[in-house]
């Protein structure tokens, strides 16, 4: 050790000298060191997973479009539909199928979500969805009235279009309603994000983002990259509690993207 350091330390009161020696010589707890090394080594892997998440979002979006568009074109040829009516029929069928899957998932998730640990309130843009909900309710009712008055047979082309259109309106209306009454809740088995559950074991990484640092960004494991990440606003007063729940249940601390 440098002579100069020793001289300075020797001038100090005895308890100060002892404190400096103890601080210098006290060995670091090996278990804690190992934990830190493990987490630090995992940063690269997790960051790579974040990049993969970003990539897969585009990839799966592309796959979905590349399947849907040829399917609609093929249906046009097979069923000999005229192109102007293809839009409403295609959109109606696809939206209804997506909605059925979504609704089934909602029921299943709701059943498996477990007890509510923390309630974080309703969707922040609820008023916007209420407005849309009212619009789609009026549109659905109007469409049904129009169809009843004008469509002579449901087996006709007009009937098919009317059913597809009403299916589309009802699907969107139900989805809007679920969003309007959806809540953000931290549950025993995952995060209930207004309309669906993100199970704890599927959380790959999470972080606080946004200008106020109160937006919770979650990266999850998902077969569909488009669903692999999402952000939810957390009330400032609940941030510490959410941080604690996320750390406890995912076994991971917040990760800076």
């Amino acid at each position: 050790m440098n002579q100069n350091h020793n001289e300075w330390e020797r001038e100090m009161p005895l308890e100060v000298q002892s404190a400096i020696n103890r601080v210098r010589d006290n060995p670091a707890p090996s278990e804690s060191v190992e934990r830190v090394i493990k987490v630090a080594a995992g940063i690269e892997m997790t960051a790579a997973e974040w990049h993969r998440g970003g990539f897969s979002k585009w990839f799966w979006g592309g796959v979905l479009l590349s399947l849907v568009i040829p399917a609609i074109v093929a249906a046009t040829y097979i069923l000999e539909f005229d192109s102007p009516i293809l839009g409403p029929i295609g959109a109606g069928i696809i939206t209804t199928l997506v909605f059925v899957e979504f609704f089934w998932n909602w029921v299943r998730s709701k059943r498996n979500a477990g007890a509510i640990l923390l309630e974080c309130g309703s969707f922040p843009s609820r008023g916007f969805f209420l407005l849309f909900g009212a619009f789609y309710l009026a549109l659905t009712i109007g469409s049904i009235i129009f169809a009843v008055k004008n469509v002579t047979s449901i087996m006709s082309m007009e009937g098919a279009i009317a059913i597809a259109w009403i299916g589309l309106c009802v699907a969107i209306l139900v989805y809007q309603s679920m969003t309007i009454w959806g809540r953000l809740q931290f549950r025993a088995n995952g995060i209930w994000c207004y309309v669906g559950l993100v199970p704890w074991k599927q959380v790959v990484s999470w972080n606080w983002t946004g200008s106020t640092g109160t937006t919770l960004f979650v990266q999850r494991k998902s077969r569909f990259g488009i669903l692999a990440s999402g952000a939810v606003p957390i009330p400032l007063e609940l941030k510490a509690k959410v941080d604690e729940l996320m750390t406890t249940h995912t076994g991971k601390g917040p990760l800076d993207s």
Binding site: E9, I20, V23, N26, S32, V39, L255, D256
Partner: protein, 165 residues
């Protein structure tokens, strides 16, 4: 070429020791190290880390001192303090309080002076090594150390005289 894994495994343990000496509390050390490694990883990805040990040393020293300043109380005793069992808990608590008081006084110094003091007296680094870590000249290191020691001498002797009275 140095990989992230090399940086973590080679420089991680000494970096932890740096934080441990400044903070003396496992949970605080883990928090500081996690933040520091995340920041270091960003810099590593951007190819901005020339000397990993110096970089991590600087980052962790400043972060640990920040955490020390934020700490509101000296009373939280880390259970790992009692692991060796050579002294009974009362003596250990008194020693722990002395150590924490020393750390709190160091944290009151201006950031550069505090960092230089910790690197000199806790880490036993030379002026040149400290200058490399902090990216300042050796003269600046000497100057900061001189000021830090003068301030600490004043505070500690004052406290010591008050205790004796």
């Amino acid at each position: 070429m140095t990989t992230w894994n090399d940086i973590v495994h080679v420089h991680g343990p000494p970096t932890y020791r740096t934080a441990w000496r400044i903070l003396g509390h496992t949970q605080d050390c883990e928090d500081v190290l996690q933040e520091a490694f995340i920041e270091a990883h960003k810099m590593f990805v951007a190819g901005k880390i020339g000397n990993p040990q110096a970089f991590l040393n600087r980052l962790v020293t400043f972060r640990a001192l920040d955490a020390l300043r934020r700490r509101k109380t000296l009373s939280s005793v880390d259970p790992s303090t009692f692991v060796d069992g050579s002294l009974g808990p009362p003596e250990k608590v008194i020693e722990h309080e002395d150590d924490m008081r020393l750390r709190a006084i160091v944290a009151e110094l201006p950031p550069r002076q505090a960092a230089v003091f910790c690197m000199t007296h806790f880490e036993e680094l030379s002026h040149e090594e400290i200058a490399d870590s902090l990216e300042i000249s050796s003269n600046a290191v000497a100057m900061a150390l001189h000021k830090a020691r003068a301030t600490l001498r004043k505070i500690m002797f004052k406290g010591h005289q008050e205790q004796e009275r």
